[in-house]
Amino acid sequence: MDPVLLSRIQFGLTISFHYIFPPLSIGLGVILVLMEALYLKTRNPLFQQMTRFWVRIFGLTFALGVASGVVMEFQFGTNWAAYSRFVGDVFGSALAAEGIFAFFLESGFLAILLFGWDKVSPRVHMLSTCMVALGAHFSAIWIIVADSWMQTPAGYHVVQSVLRSRAEVVDFWAVVFNPSTMVRLTHTVLGAWQAAAFLVLSVSAFYLLKRRHVEFARTSMKIGLIVAVVASLLSLVTGDFSGRVVARYQPAKLAAMEGHFPASAPAGMYLFGWVSEAEQRVTGIGVPGMLSFLVHGDTTKPVTGLTAFPPQDRPPVNPVFQAFHVMVGVGTILIGLSLLGAFLWWRGSLFEARWLLWIYVFAVLLPQVGNQLGWFTAEVGRQPWIVYGLMRTAAGVSPSVTAGHAVASLVLFTLIYLLLFVLFIYLLDQKIRHGPLADDLEVAYHRR
């Protein structure tokens, strides 16, 4: 088999698995800050109980995030050595900054969050919670700076260095604030908030349906719902901005997202559809002129299509189209579910609407699907480039890694991640079953 394809599959597998956890940490960070601030303000033990419960869930997602993330930090070197040599001067800085500013902060203060309840004052504990949340967001900032530079490279020049020609930094701030950093950062962080908000909604709804920890579940649900409403609505706005940045800087990706082939013609948007790349046609239902409207504010203005690019410069169309459309669909459903919950809360019947609670129990999966497919759209849409317009993916792979090596590591990771995933679900389930009063239960069996 082809080492390039194997390395791509491995990267995709490891990043997808890893990306289950950081969004939960980022979003739970915000929710924990809210809960603990309410505790400090009201001194109501209920809020402390909530904080303690969600800290434990946070600890679990963080541990899995670290375990799966160590691999990510080194995988550019192991499988993408040629890429690393070419962009290390630019790209490496962002990764190093992530380590220094984000990981230390998050992991250090998490120790206080988890194990420091009786060792520090409530204020110091609150400060630690803020630092952990901040660390999680710093991590998002630097990794998105790095990834956005691959999408819309800026602030660099390609020069002959000692051993080979490579990209070097000219303007650091132009690298950091490259054209897509801000829109992608806000969109990603909001996606993360939704992931955590819907986890809180799901667990709370489960307790309400089972009539357990009712007071705890109602209050948690309200906090989750507020975050869900804010994040899902803002996602719509940032998604729109993001689309315009893609239109301007990565027209081939935008064309693939909507399956738009004519080199220059007004373009519509599909609700759903199927792209035939051979016939250069989309079968589906959509709104004509909508894409032109979103990009230019005018339904008749032309949008650059795929045939404007030579075939070797086009991303795979149907996968990008499908990923994008399912993501948009999921986003829309999340807005609907959040607003519906908020409406029923206002009407005072939220906690009796068992059908909605049942939907919430399972809706925890939706933001995960949306986040994964969002990344998928962004990264597959960037193909065939590893750095857009600058370096092809096939040129970035490690020359010294054989197909045999890549198969071995791929099998190893698949097995380990399967095990890890099963254990994660098992432990999450255990923690949820024990509930917020689990303290007593844990003492009982630990002391056995």
């Binding site: 160590v70 080194f74 070197g77 203060f109 020359p399 590591s409 990771f413 844990e442 630990h446």
Partner: protein, 342 residues
């Protein structure tokens, strides 16, 4: 070769400091893992895991950050080492994952079998990680085949040469000694006495390994002592390292566990300094063609990037050190099991 304090030399030092920080911090929790199966009592095993409980995550971050710094400052080295030692690093990552999972899951269920399986995973993974890290270091000291493009041109089995394996075993011994001192520092009563016994044995184990490694290095890796012959002042480093090792049993004898721990940390600083003095200015020595080596000059990022990274490190590292030491201070004292324990 210039010895001036230019950006390249500073970054050579900074990456060295990050790796030393990693060795000292993750070294003790890997060591605790390596010793884990030596006590059969469940309570002891729980105490040992909880002694590293609040900090092992953060300790691993040092490795991640050292990797990031290597990528940013010396991308050629990052690319050559990690793609060249591919299978070795993949094994290391899998063991690191396994180890994290074992810590997290071991105490979740009371079943004997369940705990035995995770105990074994935790301990074997800790030994495996220490060994592989040592083997990687051994190969960097020994030299590896590189081609004209600076790609690794050797094989996985070639990495498992006797010298590298010796350095690997020495690393395991070093971490076990360091971990034993940490256990003594963090526990009281019966386990404390057991840990004192481990310290005695691991010091002997380490001293024997260290002696063998030193002899092998002097005999078979003469380039490592070249700088010491050229600048005899560097001879102070091995002397101080030996004194640091010798001081450990002394501090333990007087029950000053914390000073013993510092002494063991100082030993690691000394050993890393020895490696740094030996390989400078090479980062990856090419054997048999030394002219193809990756040095701090040909493997580095541009001066501009090195300067930017220096500013980032200058802002970030003092803050990290400040709160990391505060956190260690908050968790000082003997470990006790409570409701939040593993």
């Amino acid at each position: 070769m210039t010895m001036g304090l230019d950006l390249h030399v500073i970054w050579f030092g900074l990456v060295g400091i990050l790796l030393t920080g990693y060795a000292i911090l993750d070294g003790f929790d890997l060591g605790v893992g390596a010793l884990h199966l030596l006590t059969r009592k469940d309570e002891h095993r729980r105490l040992m895991i909880n002694a590293i409980g609040p900090v092992w995550d953060g300790n691993e971050v040092w490795l991640v950050t050292a990797g990031g710094a290597l990528f940013a400052a010396f991308p050629e080295v990052y690319a050559t080492i990690f793609s060249g030692f591919y299978l070795a690093f993949m094994l290391l990552f899998c063991m690191l994952i396994f180890r994290a999972v074992a810590i997290e899951f071991r105490s979740k269920l009371p079943g004997r079998r369940w705990r035995q399986v995770w105990d074994a995973s935790f301990s074997l993974a800790s030994i495996g990680c220490s060994l592989l890290l040592g083997v990687a270091f051994g190969n960097v000291i020994w030299g590896v085949p590189l081609d004209a493009q600076r790609e690794f041109a050797g094989s996985f089995l070639g990495l498992l040469n006797p010298y590298a394996l010796l350095v690997g075993v020495t690393t395991v011994a070093l971490f076990m000694m360091h971990g034993a001192i940490y256990v003594a520092l963090k526990t009281e009563g019966e386990l404390h006495e057991i840990a004192r016994g481990w310290i005695n044995n691991t010091i002997i184990f380490f001293t024997v390994c260290y002696g063998l490694t030193t002899m092998a290095t002097l005999l078979y890796v003469p380039h490592m002592s070249q700088h010491m012959r050229d600048y005899p002042v560097f001879f102070a480093v091995p002397v101080l390292t030996m004194l640091a090792v010798a001081n450990i049993p002394r501090e333990i004898h007087f029950s000053r566990d914390f000073l013993a721990f510092l002494s063991s940390g100082a030993t690691m600083v000394g050993l890393m300094a020895l490696v740094a003095i030996g390989i400078f200015p090479n980062l990856v020595l090419s054997r048999p063609n030394p002219e193809l080596s990756l040095t701090i000059y040909n493997a580095a990022s541009s001066p501009k990037t090195l300067t930017i990274m220096l500013i980032i490190a200058g802002i970030g590292v003092p803050i990290v050190l400040a709160y990391t030491s505060s956190i260690y201070y908050i968790f000082r004292g003997k470990v006790k099991l409570d409701t939040m324990s593993y």
